[in-house]
């Protein structure tokens, strides 16, 4: 190698290094610039003002706790005790929580010496430790209090409404009613509502104890009441999860069944007509490109909301995806096996069955099972749009903006469902493809 060659190589190397150095600076700078643009475009600086932190606190605390409403109508004086203030969670007539005492003067013990006394004449006294006694009276549509002009920020008082929020609970007084919220950790009435005779009984009592409801056997009765629990709607939830999995299953398998023969038409090796091949490929591209969102919207108009629409939307989108993947797999098959099969005098259909299918099956199965898992997630999302499955229940629960414990319950179920499907598809993949190898 001469000196001239060396200097040329060195020049090349220097140039390469310069380019790499430039890239090492330019790429991060570009990404940084892009983030700066996004920061402005998404108005991230203004996010803090738009964000509603009260909502975040409600969400975080409500998802693992429940509240019992004690309500006095300031018109009739009638008392109401209900979990989450829902009719379905109301205490039966003549019963009330143990932390409410007294007859003419009701004392609600919120805990930590925080007491609410409901007195005659629509008067309410709230005793907060370290603050003193707050007195309020509802007169007509007005609320009068002993609070002065300077109230701490955990009290909001106007002449129409007084709200006191303490760490132990909340008191809201308006002209029409006085409401006391008492918070407790846990998911109340998850197993049985107050209507069920099994409420308040332990598991061992139900399993081994004496018959609680004389008309039914303990275990079947308990299962029945749990299944039909009106608060948590276990029956509907199980059905919804079933619907979601059904959407994913029908969509994935249907797509695979339709895409397999079509993939032959799109594979160079099996489709002699370039025109047909091109048309099939464009069809796959179209089905994939339109995307599940648009298919859902279009199909919902024809079939109405429900799991079938979701299944068909998944089916159509995935036919495009599978068609592309399958035809690529078909193009990569080994020709020798087909030759071998045809040398035995096999007809074309037999050649496909014994020469091609065994080669591509592992690839196809792996893809189908992977999509089955991923479509469970898609079905949740599509369900929210098209109105079926656990996705819809979740959206509805979030939109009501109060049943956060139900939202938490659904989220746990959804994550569990996706993980179970992930595990199941992995297990099936191991069984089916592993068996081929073994």
């Amino acid at each position: 190698m001469t000196a001239a060659d060396l200097s040329l190589t060195k020049a090349h190397a220097d140039q390469l290094f310069r380019r790499k150095r430039l890239a090492a600076v330019a790429v991060p700078a570009l990404i940084l610039g892009y983030f700066a643009y996004i920061f402005v475009a998404f108005n991230i600086a203004g996010l803090a003002q738009r964000a509603n932190w009260d909502n975040a606190v409600t969400l975080a605390s409500d998802s693992w706790s429940y509240k019992v409403h004690v309500t006095r109508s300031n018109r009739t004086g009638a008392m109401d005790y209900a979990v989450e203030g829902e009719r379905k969670g109301a205490y039966p007539e003549g019963q009330r929580p143990g932390w409410v005492t007294g007859e003419d003067i009701l004392t609600v013990d919120l805990g930590s010496d925080t007491l609410v006394r409901l007195l005659p004449d629509n008067r309410t006294e709230v005793q907060v430790p370290g603050f003193g006694l707050i007195e309020a009276q509802a007169v007509g549509r007005q609320v009068t209090t002993n609070l002065g002009a300077n109230v701490p920020d955990w009290i909001s008082a106007s002449d129409r409404r007084v709200a006191i929020t303490s760490p132990e609970g909340r008191v809201t007084i308006t002209g029409s009613k006085t409401e006391v919220f008492n918070y407790f950790p846990g998911w109340e009435l998850f197993w049985f509502t107050f209507e069920s005779p099994y409420h308040g009984h332990s598991l061992t009592e139900i399993l081994f104890g004496a018959r609680i409801d004389p008309t039914r056997a303990n275990i079947s009765g308990a299962v029945q009441d749990w299944w039909n629990n009106p608060m948590w709607r276990h029956k509907d939830v199980v059905w919804a999860i079933g619907e979601t999995i059904l959407m994913a299953f029908l969509g994935t398998m249907g797509a695979a069944i339709i895409a397999l023969p079509m993939a032959f038409m799109a594979a160079k090796r099996f489709a002699p007509f370039a025109l047909l091949r091109g048309a099939t490929r464009r069809l796959f591209d179209f089905l994939r490109g339109v995307d599940a969102l648009i298919w859902t919207v279009v199909l919902a108009r024809a079939f109405g909301p429900g799991p079938l629409t979701g299944a068909l939307a998944i089916l159509i989108t995935d036919t495009g995806t599978f068609g592309k993947i399958f035809s690529e797999a078909l193009e990569n098959v080994d020709g020798k096996q087909i030759e071998g099969v045809s040398s035995t005098g096999a007809k074309p259909l037999q050649r496909y069955r014994f020469g091609v299918i065994p080669q591509v099956v592992p690839v196809l199965l792996a893809q189908i099972l992977y999509f089955l898992e991923s479509n469970t997630r898609s079905a949740t999302i599509i369900g929210a749009i098209t109105g079926g499955g656990i996705g819809l229940m979740l959206t509805q629960a979030i939109q009501t903006q109060k049943d956060w414990e139900e939202v938490a319950y659904y989220i746990i179920l959804i994550v569990g469902m996706v993980m179970a499907m992930d595990w199941f598809s992995g297990w099936l993949r191991g069984r089916l493809i592993g068996r081929k190898d073994g």
């Binding site: 994939r288 024809a302 799991p307 079926g388 979740l394 959804i414 996706v418």
Partner: protein, 293 residues
């Protein structure tokens, strides 16, 4: 499989007995295959019937109407075809927002996925004892559908692109983390050892020893994810997270009279998805085949 049933080491078998045992085996396999197929067909048919029964409209009734909505949209869009380019310009900012959501969430998700994957790969992990922890974290991030996080964040942060961005980024981090970690498992450890001998820190060993080896694969996966995320960001828009999906829902809520807008959005969305699919598949081919040589 066949060897085991023939029973090596026993008395030499006659051709007949070999044939009968082979035929019995074939019959058994056919029976199992047939049974599996039967169960599968039963599942499909009963599944279809259940789905059909729980749907608001029946499958066979709706089948004839399947073309109605597209026909309505297309005919109205055709009547107003002069306005179509204008509408497309009007919705272009929404399209940019949808693509931006996908791009940012892919960038953030891929970065987080890179770190998570290195922390969860045997031989590379910073804290080998925490590998299972990081793996479970990735599983969890992957398992939560984007819509769950998006809806909760919309409740707290209000509508707009940020909830969708965070939701998609979390899912992307989990999904890419798993794929990245599978690639990183096959990385050559010699550069890492070499760097370790010079006293490089863990971050330096990873950045200089591992990342250059796996970068083409990682970028290829990230591009694939970007394609998926464009679709996801359009769908999340539909539940209130801004962008093209949001505009589509508004246009659809108006029904007839606004089909021109719906058609413009359909075209934009379709065009974007196809264009990015093509672009990324071309670039991914270049990455996997190697370029410059």
């Amino acid at each position: 499989m066949t060897h085991a049933t023939l029973g090596a080491g026993e008395m030499p078998k006659t051709v007949d007995s070999i044939q009968t045992s082979y035929m019995a085996q074939v019959r058994r396999r056919r029976l199992y295959g047939g049974l599996t197929l039967l169960i599968f067909v039963l599942l499909m048919v009963s599944g279809f019937n259940i789905a059909d029964g729980r749907n608001a409209g029946g499958f066979w009734d709706g089948l004839g109407n399947i073309g109605d909505y597209p026909a309505d949209v297309l005919s109205e869009a055709w009547e107003k075809r002069a306005a179509l380019p204008g509408l497309m310009v009007k919705f272009f900012p929404a399209l940019i927002e949808t693509v931006n959501i996908a791009a940012v969430s892919t960038l953030i998700g891929a970065t987080a996925g890179l770190v998570l994957s290195l922390l969860a790969t045997r031989g590379l992990a910073r804290w080998p004892r925490l590998i299972p922890v990081f793996r479970r974290v990735m599983d969890l991030m992957r398992a939560i559908p984007e819509i769950v996080i998006a809806l909760m964040l919309i409740f707290v942060l209000g509508g707009g692109p940020v909830p969708a961005m965070i939701a998609i980024a979390i899912h992307t981090a989990g999904a890419l983390g798993k794929m990245f970690s599978e690639v990183a498992e096959n990385a050559d450890l010699k550069p890492v050892e070499g760097l370790a001998s010079t006293g490089a820190t863990w971050a330096q060993r990873m950045w200089l020893g591992v990342v250059p080896q796996v970068a083409p694969n990682y970028i290829s996966y990230a591009l694939l994810r970007f394609e998926i995320n464009i679709r996801a960001s359009a769908i999340l828009g539909f539940v209130g997270a801004g962008g093209l999906g949001y505009e589509l829902r508004n246009a659809m809520a108006w029904g007839p009279g606004r089909f021109g807008e719906a058609a413009a959005i359909f075209i934009l969305l379709f065009g974007t998805i196809v264009a990015f699919d093509q672009l990324s598949s071309r670039y991914r081919n270049r990455l996997t085949e190697g370029y410059g040589q």
